[in-house]
C-alpha cells in the first residue's frame, strides 16, 4: 500500500491556494458527463452533493434514513468554530490551526489542519447566506462563545441546536439541486459494498431498505460521507443506525483504515440509568462554560444529596488540577478526570453495575451571577432535555454527567485531496481520519464536515476526474454482478441463522468488551484479552443470532445484523491498533504511559505517525503501514492545560 499524502510544497499558508491553482480542472461542459455517487447526507454528504451538483456534475445521493435531513449531524448541539476574530480577542487562522494541532495531540497533518482553519471563515459566510439562524447580538452581529479547549470566543452557535440548523441548511441546498434535477436522491438506501475494477472505485451496491431490492450503481467517482463508528461500543451518543459498514467494506476492498483506535469520549453525557439503556444522550459541552464540575471530597459523602454537601467538602477537581483552563479543558482530559474520581469512589448518583458513575455539573453559581433567565436563554433546551430524561431539574439540582463515546477521529485514510488509497474513492467528514489527530476539539466536527463538502471536494475531485479517471463504465461490467452476488449471499446467510438471541444482545456484549478494554483507559493485557473475546464472540454470533423476517421487505433487524457483523470484525482492528500504539496520545490513553499525575505521555520517537491498516484477507492479520507526520510550523510539545 502506497501512502502518498500529496501535501503541496511551499509555505503552510500558501499551500491550499497554490494547490488549487495546480489542480487539474474539468471543463464546465464536460462536468455533466460525470456521475458521482455521494453516500450519506450528513453535513459532509449533503454539502458535497449540493456543491458538486452546483458545479454541473450529476449526483446520485444515498442515505439510510427516510429523509436526508435526519442524518446524525442533526444532533450536534454546541457550535461550529471559525477564525473570524469577530470578537477582536486575538483569534486568527494561525491560532485556530495551532489549537487544533495541539488539541489533536500532534497526530494530525499540519497542511490539512491549516486548510481547515482557512476554509472555516467561508463556511460561516455560506451558512448565513442560506438562512441559518445563528445567535446574534443586539446590534445584529453574530454572537460567539468560547468552547472546550479554546481561550478565544470563536464558536458560532444556534441555541443548542447548531448541528440541526447547519444540516438543514445543507439539506436545503441539496433539495434545491434535487429540484433542478442535478441530484437524484435515494433515501432508505444502504450501501452494502464498493465495486472496484482494476484497483479503481467504479460503483457500489445498495439495498433498498423499503423493498429489499439489492442493485448495482456505476459511478465515475464515489464520495463516502458515512460518519463514524462509535456504535461499536453499543452505548454511545450516536444515532442508533450509525454504523461502520460502508467504510469497513471499502477497507476490505483495499482502502487503508487510519488510526481506528482514536475515539473520543465526550465528558458531558447523561449517565447510564440502568442495564436496559439503548443509547446515551449528550449534553453539549458548552454547558461547561457556565457549569462547575465537582464531586464530594470524601467517598463517604458520595451517596448523599448534593445540597447536603458543604462548599468546603466539594472537590472542584478540574479547577484545582487545571487552574488556567479549569472546567474548559479538552474533552479527553475532562473525561479521564471524571473516570478517575469515579474509580476513586467519589462518583455520585445511583449505582449502576456496582459503581456510581457520575459527577456533578453545577449551575448554581452562574444562576446566582447571571440570573436564571440568562441561563435559560443559553441552555434552556438542554435543561429541558435533561429534565425529560432524568426527571430532575438542573435549575434546582446539579446535573449528573458522565463521559460517553461520542466521535471517532480514526477513519479511512485520505490524501490532501480527500482521496483514499483506492483511486476514485473519496472520503469526507467523520468517515475520514484527516484533521483531528488523536482528539477532536469541541465545535470542530461541524467545521470539518462542511469544509470537506462545501469547499475541499469541489476543488479536488476534478484532479481525479481529469487525470486518473479510466473512462465510462456501466453496471454490465462483470465486477458488479460478482459483488452483488456476494451481498445477496450475505443477506441469505443472515436470514438463515437458526439461533435464538436477538442481534441487539450480541451487539451489547461486543460493546461491553470494547468499553472495558478499548474505552477511556487501555492497557496491553486488556487489549489482548479483548481481541480474543471479540474473536470468540464473532464465532458465537453465527450460532446464536436470530434474524427475523425476509429479504424483500422493510427489515430493520436484517439491517442491524449486517452492521453488527462488520462491527464484530472492526472492533478487533480497533483493539489491534490500540495495542500496537504503545503510547498515550489524545483520546488514546494507555495506562502504561502516564505521568504520576495521570497525564498522557506521548512517544514521538516511535509513534509520530498515522497508522494505516491494510486488509489482507479473511485468514491473515491486517498489515500496518505508517504515514510519518512532520511538524515544520508547530513545535512538538507536551500538551498542558494546567
Amino acid at each position: 500500500m502506497k501512502l502518498d499524502a500529496r501535501i503541496p510544497s511551499g509555505p503552510l499558508a500558501e499551500k491550499w491556494d497554490r494547490h488549487r491553482f495546480e489542480l487539474k480542472l474539468v471543463n464546465p461542459a464536460n462536468k455533466r458527463r460525470f456521475r458521482i455517487a455521494v453516500v450519506g447526507t450528513g453535513l459532509a454528504g449533503a454539502s458535497a452533493a449540493a456543491s458538486l451538483a452546483e458545479l454541473g456534475y450529476d449526483v446520485d445521493c444515498f442515505c439510510i434514513q427516510d429523509s436526508p435531513r435526519r442524518a446524525h449531524s442533526i444532533a450536534a448541539q454546541g457550535g461550529i468554530n471559525a477564525a473570524k476574530n469577530y470578537q477582536n480577542d486575538g483569534d486568527s487562522i494561525w491560532r485556530l490551526f495551532y489549537d487544533t494541532v495541539k488539541g489533536g495531540d500532534f497526530r494530525a497533518r499540519e497542511a490539512n489542519v491549516y486548510r481547515l482553519a482557512q476554509v472555516s471563515v467561508d463556511i460561516i459566510d455560506h451558512c448565513v447566506a442560506q438562512g441559518v439562524p445563528f445567535a446574534r447580538e443586539y446590534g445584529g452581529a453574530l454572537d460567539n462563545r468560547s468552547f472546550g479547549g479554546a481561550q478565544v470566543s470563536r464558536t458560532f452557535y444556534a441555541r443548542g441546536q447548531t448541528g440541526q440548523q447547519l444540516l438543514l441548511g445543507a439539506y436545503s441546498a441539496l433539495m434545491r439541486m434535487v429540484d433542478v434535477g442535478k441530484v437524484s436522491l435515494y433515501p432508505r438506501h444502504e450501501m452494502l459494498d464498493l465495486v472496484v475494477v482494476d484497483g479503481h472505485a467504479r460503483g457500489l451496491i445498495t439495498r433498498n431498505l423499503t423493498t429489499g431490492e439489492i442493485r448495482p450503481w456505476a459511478a465515475d467517482a464515489v464520495v463516502l460521507c458515512t460518519g463514524g463508528y462509535g456504535n461499536v461500543f453499543y452505548l454511545s451518543t450516536n444515532a442508533k443506525a450509525s454504523n461502520v459498514t460502508a467504510a469497513y467494506r471499502c477497507y476490505k476492498r483495499g482502502a487503508g483504515f487510519a488510526n481506528p483506535c482514536f475515539t473520543q469520549i465526550h465528558p458531558t453525557c447523561i449517565p447510564q440509568g440502568g442495564p436496559y439503556q439503548s443509547k446515551l444522550t449528550l449534553m453539549s459541552e458548552s454547558l461547561r462554560n457556565d457549569g462547575r464540575v465537582w464531586v464530594p471530597r470524601r467517598a463517604s459523602d458520595s451517596g448523599r444529596p448534593a445540597a447536603e454537601i458543604a462548599e468546603a467538602d466539594r472537590y472542584y477537581y478540574l479547577e484545582e488540577r487545571y487552574p488556567s483552563f479549569g472546567n474548559l479543558v479538552p474533552r479527553d482530559v475532562a473525561s479521564r478526570a471524571a473516570k478517575k474520581v469515579c474509580d476513586d469512589g467519589l462518583g455520585v448518583g445511583p449505582e449502576v453495575l456496582g459503581q456510581r458513575n457520575a459527577v456533578y455539573l453545577d449551575f448554581a453559581a452562574s444562576i446566582e451571577r447571571l440570573g436564571a433567565g440568562v441561563i435559560k436563554e443559553r441552555y434552556g433546551n438542554l435543561f429541558d432535555m435533561y429534565e425529560r430524561i432524568t426527571g430532575e431539574s438542573p435549575y434546582t439540582a446539579p446535573m449528573r454527567i458522565y463521559p460517553a463515546v461520542h466521535y471517532t477521529m480514526g477513519g479511512l485514510w485520505v490524501d490532501y485531496n480527500l482521496m483514499s488509497t483506492i483511486p476514485g474513492l473519496h472520503v469526507l467528514g467523520e468517515a475520514n481520519f484527516s484533521d483531528h489527530g488523536a482528539n477532536r476539539l469541541g465545535a470542530s466536527a461541524l467545521m470539518q464536515g462542511l469544509a470537506d463538502g462545501y469547499f475541499v471536494i469541489p476543488a479536488t475531485i476534478g484532479q481525479f476526474l481529469a487525470s486518473q479517471h479510466r473512462g465510462p463504465i456501466t453496471t454490465a461490467h462483470p465486477a458488479f454482478a460478482e459483488v452483488e452476488a456476494q451481498c445477496r449471499a450475505q443477506t441469505a446467510r443472515l436470514l438463515g441463522l437458526r439461533g435464538k438471541r436477538p442481534v441487539d444482545d450480541l451487539h451489547r456484549e461486543l460493546g461491553r468488551i470494547m468499553w472495558d478494554h478499548c474505552g477511556m483507559a487501555r492497557n496491553a493485557a486488556g487489549l489482548a484479552q479483548a481481541i480474543g473475546e471479540i474473536a470468540a464472540l464473532r464465532e458465537r454470533f453465527w450460532h446464536e443470532a436470530a434474524v427475523p423476517g425476509s429479504a424483500d421487505e422493510l427489515n430493520p433487524w436484517l439491517e442491524h445484523a449486517g452492521r453488527v457483523v462488520d462491527f464484530l470484525e472492526f472492533g478487533e482492528l480497533m483493539c489491534s491498533d490500540a495495542l500496537v500504539r504503545d503510547e498515550s496520545c489524545g483520546g488514546h490513553f494507555r495506562e502504561d504511559h502516564q505521568t504520576p499525575e495521570g497525564e498522557a505521555i506521548r512517544d514521538d520517537e516511535r509513534f509520530c505517525h498515522a497508522a494505516v491498516w491494510e486488509y489482507a484477507g479473511p485468514s491473515a492479520a491486517p498489515v500496518r503501514h505508517v504515514e510519518p507526520l512532520t511538524f515544520e510550523n508547530v513545535k512538538l510539545a507536551t500538551r498542558s492545560y494546567k
Partner: protein, 248 residues
C-alpha cells in the same frame, strides 16, 4: 411495572388483515417508551414471532424519525416531547396503551408503525431554501440581523420534520410544516428575493402531495414536539396572499 400494548400491525402497504394486536411487556418507569418496544421486540424474536417495525434513530428528540401515535396523540402524553423522549414514568402500572402509525393519505404505511414521509422532502425541494451557490456568499456580518428577528426565525427553523402536525390534523394538513419554513426564510433578509415564489410553489406542492388545508383546529401546534406556533400558518397565509398580490 407491566403494561399492555395494543399495537397496529400491518405486514406491508397493501395488507388487508392489518389491525391492533395486544402484547404484555415488563418494563420500568425509568425506561423510555422506545426501550419498552425494544424489550417487546427482543421477546418476539426469541419466540420466533415477527417484531414490530417503527422508525427511530437519534433517540434524543432532534432527528424527527420517531413517529408513534400513543393513545390517540402523536408523540404521546407529554407536551413538546418526541416519542423517543417519552419515559414510562408517564404511564401507570398495568396501563393499556394503544400505539398506531401516523395516519394521512400523504404518509402511506410501509410496515407496522413505519410510514413514508418523503412527501415532506418534495415540499422542501419546491422552494424551501435560499438559492445561493457555494462560494457566492458575502461576509457573514455584512447584513446585520436583529436579535429578536433571528430568535423568531429560529423558533420556526426548529421544526424537525417529524409530521406529527399532519398526523394530528383532521384534514391531514401540512400547513404548520410548510409555514414554519416559509416564515423562517420570510423573516430573514437572505430569504427576501425568493419570498413570493417560495410560498406559492411550496403550497402548490403541498396540495399535489395530497395534504389537506387548514381549518383552524390547532391540533398541530398542540402536538408539535418543538412548539412551533400557529403563527407559522398565519404567516404562510399572509405570504401566499402577498405573493398573489405581487403577481397581480
Amino acid at each position: 411495572m407491566r403494561v399492555k400494548l395494543r399495537i397496529w400491525r400491518q405486514s406491508g402497504p397493501t395488507d388487508t388483515k392489518a389491525g391492533l394486536r395486544d402484547y404484555t411487556v415488563e418494563t420500568d418507569e425509568h425506561m423510555s417508551f422506545l426501550e419498552t418496544l425494544d424489550v417487546l421486540n427482543a421477546d418476539l424474536i426469541r419466540k420466533g414471532e415477527s417484531p414490530v417495525a417503527f422508525d427511530h434513530d437519534c433517540r434524543e428528540g432532534i432527528c424527527g424519525a420517531c413517529s408513534l401515535v400513543i393513545d390517540g396523540v402523536p408523540h404521546g402524553p407529554r407536551a413538546a416531547t418526541t416519542t423517543c423522549q417519552i419515559h414510562m414514568r408517564e404511564f401507570r402500572d398495568q396501563a393499556v396503551i394503544t400505539v398506531e402509525p401516523w395516519r394521512a393519505k400523504a404518509f402511506p404505511v410501509i410496515k407496522d408503525l413505519t410510514v413514508d414521509r418523503s412527501a415532506f422532502d418534495r415540499i422542501i425541494a419546491a422552494g424551501g431554501y435560499v438559492s445561493v451557490r457555494t462560494g457566492a456568499a458575502p461576509d457573514a456580518n455584512a447584513i446585520p440581523i436583529g436579535k429578536r428577528t433571528a430568535e423568531r426565525a429560529f423558533d420556526f427553523a426548529a421544526c424537525i420534520g417529524c409530521g406529527a402536525c399532519v398526523a394530528a390534523c383532521p384534514n391531514a394538513s401540512a400547513m404548520l410544516f410548510v409555514g414554519a419554513k416559509v416564515a423562517q426564510l420570510a423573516l430573514l433578509p437572505q430569504g427576501q428575493v425568493e419570498r413570493g415564489s417560495r410560498a406559492t410553489r411550496m403550497v402548490a406542492q403541498m396540495d399535489a402531495q395530497g395534504f389537506g388545508g387548514c381549518s383552524n383546529h390547532g391540533e398541530c401546534e398542540a402536538v408539535c414536539p418543538k412548539s412551533i406556533s400557529l403563527d407559522a400558518i398565519a404567516m404562510l397565509n399572509v405570504e401566499t396572499m402577498r405573493a398573489a398580490l405581487e403577481r397581480a
